[in-house]
């Protein structure tokens, strides 16, 4: 009963520490306008709008989609606001794809954004008034546990930090442009949350991302190649409970296996050409390679060490520079989906992986407990 859906337009802003030149509606419109232009469409062509962002407290606006409805051309149309913590950008694409797959709409605009410079995301991430330790503080123990479990050498995290920043130099939209990045610089950068160094952490960014999802007719009418959405899945599990494996959360394992099954993938490392994974701290690259069974236990860091995850490697991860180079939190998950889609569309520009046909987009959130994943393909099946 499910109909085919494809990403037919992708747009994003130039991400930066502060986009003081734009209001929040302006930021969203910059991304959405580019996605529409990419799809060869105009605002009236859109039938529904799905908006995602991380907690409202980050900018201090309750349900900001209500005022963004005007700027995003949503008035007179259905509008949904998704919120699934850090995975929200990924979930937003999936909710939008469901609107097309179900046959309800033919062309849906999905927009995700964050304007960290207009609020205090660190305060929000630390639980606001309830106090807390922030994202890095929450994830550092899991990273340490991974290092112990997998016997990974300390420099693996530095390698990912360097690789993603070098990739970002090929992405004009990326926030960080650190041409002089080196293993030494990462190692010598301040220790934020042991074992996470400053340069192993994502930046705080203003930015937005948008995609247009269309049905078969819309895909046939678009000027550029579509990225077919061949599999989507979401999984959630509670924040914490005795016996929970926070290093390799079961929700992440289940989510990955669900998309592989839908896409007919039995050997993800061989059958997926490129992956955009949500890596806000460098160690999450090997952790997700193992947590999504792309590498066997203890094999994720070896893929990094062997250079397999570089753009020219056997399994490129985050050729866009990833979350480590741009982190407009609510949009970060959608950027993974958008970049993965652009790879199979052949539209990734300088960071295009040669011959990419099948890609994986992934986002996670909360206490590594929310997962949203999708497989994109240059062909329908």
């Amino acid at each position: 009963m499910s109909r085919p859906a494809a990403i037919i337009g992708v747009g994003q802003t130039k991400h930066a520490k502060a986009r003081a030149d734009l209001s929040i509606p302006g930021l969203c419109r910059e991304a959405a306008g580019r996605a529409l232009a990419d799809a060869g469409l105009d605002w009236p062509d859109i039938e529904a709008v799905v908006i995602g962002k991380a907690p409202d407290a980050f900018e201090g606006i309750m349900q900001p989609e209500l005022f963004l409805a005007d700027a995003l051309g949503a008035t007179g149309k259905p509008m949904l606001r998704v919120h699934t913590a850090g995975s929200v950008g990924g979930s937003t694409v999936i909710v939008a794809s469901h609107l097309v797959e179900s046959g309800i709409h033919g062309r849906v605009l999905a927009v995700a954004w964050e304007k960290q410079s207009e609020g205090n995301a660190q305060w929000g991430l630390a639980g606001g008034r309830s106090g807390g330790i922030g994202a890095g503080g929450a994830f550092a123990p899991y990273i340490r546990a991974y290092m112990e479990r997998s016997r990974a050498p300390e420099y693996i995290g530095w390698q990912v930090a360097v690789k993603d920043r070098l990739n970002a130099l090929k992405n004009p939209y990326a926030h960080l442009q650190l041409a002089d990045i080196s293993l030494e610089k990462v190692k010598e950068s301040p220790m934020l949350w042991d074992p996470i160094h400053f340069l192993e952490s994502c930046p705080s960014s203003d930015g937005a991302c948008a995609v247009v999802i269309g049905d078969e007719d819309a895909a046939a009418a678009t000027p550029r190649p579509p990225a077919w959405v061949v599999a989507t899945s979401v999984r959630s599990e509670p924040s914490t409970f005795p016996g929970r494996d926070a290093v390799r959360p079961q929700a992440g394992v289940d989510c990955a296996h669900d998309v592989y099954r839908q896409a007919g993938i039995t050997d993800p490392k061989a059958q997926i050409d490129v992956a955009e994974l949500y890596v806000p701290f460098s160690w999450y690259e090997p952790m997700w390679l193992e947590g999504h069974d792309i590498a066997p236990p203890g094999g994720g860091w070896k893929m990094v060490d062997d250079g397999e995850t570089e753009i020219e490697g056997a399994f490129p991860v985050n050729p866009s520079g990833g979350v480590l180079s741009s982190n407009p939190i609510g949009a970060s998950g959608m950027l993974r989906m958008a970049e993965a889609a652009n790879q199979v569309r052949g539209q990734a520009g300088e960071h295009q992986v040669d011959g990419a046909r099948v890609s994986l987009g992934q986002a996670y959130g909360g206490n590594a407990q929310y997962f949203a994943m999708a497989i994109f393909s240059s062909t329908r099946s």
Binding site: D56, M62, Q63, A69, M79, L80, R235, E237, D254
Partner: protein, 353 residues
């Protein structure tokens, strides 16, 4: 409209109160377990779960994450969340069920508003550049809307009082409502204005509470219950945000959603409307074209209990209840999001034909 018929097979709500010591996850747990029990399913039967809530009500970022504990998310579940009333979570689950690979979904909506002050909170729901600095609270916006309606000559303050009186009388028979005070229109009209032309009773209370619904595909629904309540049509539309750019005496998005949900295809006997002020009920009735023969808010409606983020989902539950028990052959539920009826959802329900 897609072809797959989806039915409501279970529901539950917590008794709404002005303030509870229970946590929001506890409220959700109570509603979810009762709805699952009513549907006669196991938790493992649920293929998709969707929740609706708003962090700002409790005042903590990621407040919704704790509600996951009430969804039974171990082993991990396919789950999503909207920062909206649970009625929109129901919409998302209805969309998900169209795919045909799953046949049961759990939906819940919850709000614990008691920790926050609406007058302080809701200005932050408005355009942060142009409106939020004005400190416009919900009662003031409701009053602007009420004035706009009075100015059309289509309603009087007595009409507002009649809506309140009827709602309070009906709330007396609803164990989940908590406002059942004065119901004599004359005495209501004698009360002082709080925001001219509105009196305190014209605006819905703010309550703590949660509600849950179990949805199933038609085939599965007929196995689960003798009285499935089918979603015959569901649609939602959003209007312009800026109140100054809207005719507040009308609700075009409600009218459009009602038309697209097929409300006009056949008469309804019951309408449950998420009007959070007495004038709003009149505006929504008008937008939907409901005649005098339609029983509006027989539950007492939001003027009797208003657990924000569950209020819309409860309208669907109250309408479904009346279809299931034979009071209505066809009923309509309405949910709203934002201020002055900015975003509206219409859901048409019918029993087995």
């Amino acid at each position: 409209m897609p072809a797959t018929d989806i039915a409501i097979v279970g529901w539950a709500q917590t008794p709404a109160v002005a303030r509870t010591d229970a946590t929001e996850p506890q409220l959700c747990m109570q509603a979810n377990l009762a709805a699952i029990a009513m549907a006669g399913i196991e938790r493992s039967d649920i293929g998709f779960t969707c929740a609706g809530s708003c962090d700002y009500l409790t005042g903590g970022p990621f407040a919704f994450v704790q509600n996951l504990d009430a969804a039974g998310a171990w082993p991990p579940i396919a789950e999503s969340h909207v920062e909206m009333d649970g009625a929109w979570a129901l919409y998302e689950a209805w969309v998900r069920l169209q795919h045909g690979d799953i046949d049961v979904a759990l939906v819940f909506g919850s709000g614990k508003s008691s920790p926050s002050d609406p007058a302080e909170l809701y200005p932050q729901q408005l355009d942060p550049y142009y409106l939020e600095p004005l400190g416009l609270d919900p009662a003031s916006i409701a009053a602007l809307q009420a004035r706009a309606l009075l100015d059309t000559g289509r309603a009087t303050e007595r009409d507002f009082a009649e809506v309140v009186a009827r709602s309070r009388r009906d709330a007396r028979t609803n164990p989940n409502a908590h406002v059942r005070d004065e119901d004599d229109p004359e005495r209501l009209l004698a009360a002082p204005y709080t925001r001219n032309p509105l009196r305190a009773h014209d605006v819905a209370p703010v309550s703590d509470g949660a509600a849950a619904v179990v949805l199933a595909t038609a085939r599965r629904a007929r196995q689960l219950t003798e009285h499935p309540v089918f979603i015959r049509g569901i649609d939602h539309r959003v209007d312009v945000h800026q109140p100054g750019m809207r005719d507040l005496a009308t609700s075009p998005s409600t009218a459009d959603a009602a038309r697209r949900a097929g409300l006009g295809d056949a008469p309804v006997e019951v309408a449950e409307l998420a009007a959070i002020s007495s004038p709003q009920e009149l505006i929504v009735r008008d937008a939907m074209g409901l005649g005098d023969g339609v029983a509006v808010n027989p539950s007492g409606g939001p003027l009797g209990a208003n657990p924000v983020m569950a209020t819309g989902l409860i309208r669907i539950i109250e309408a479904a209840r009346r279809v299931a028990d034979g009071t209505a052959r066809r009923a309509v539920a309405h949910a709203t999001n934002g201020q002055a009826l900015q975003h509206n959802l219409v859901c048409v329900l019918e029993g087995e034909s």
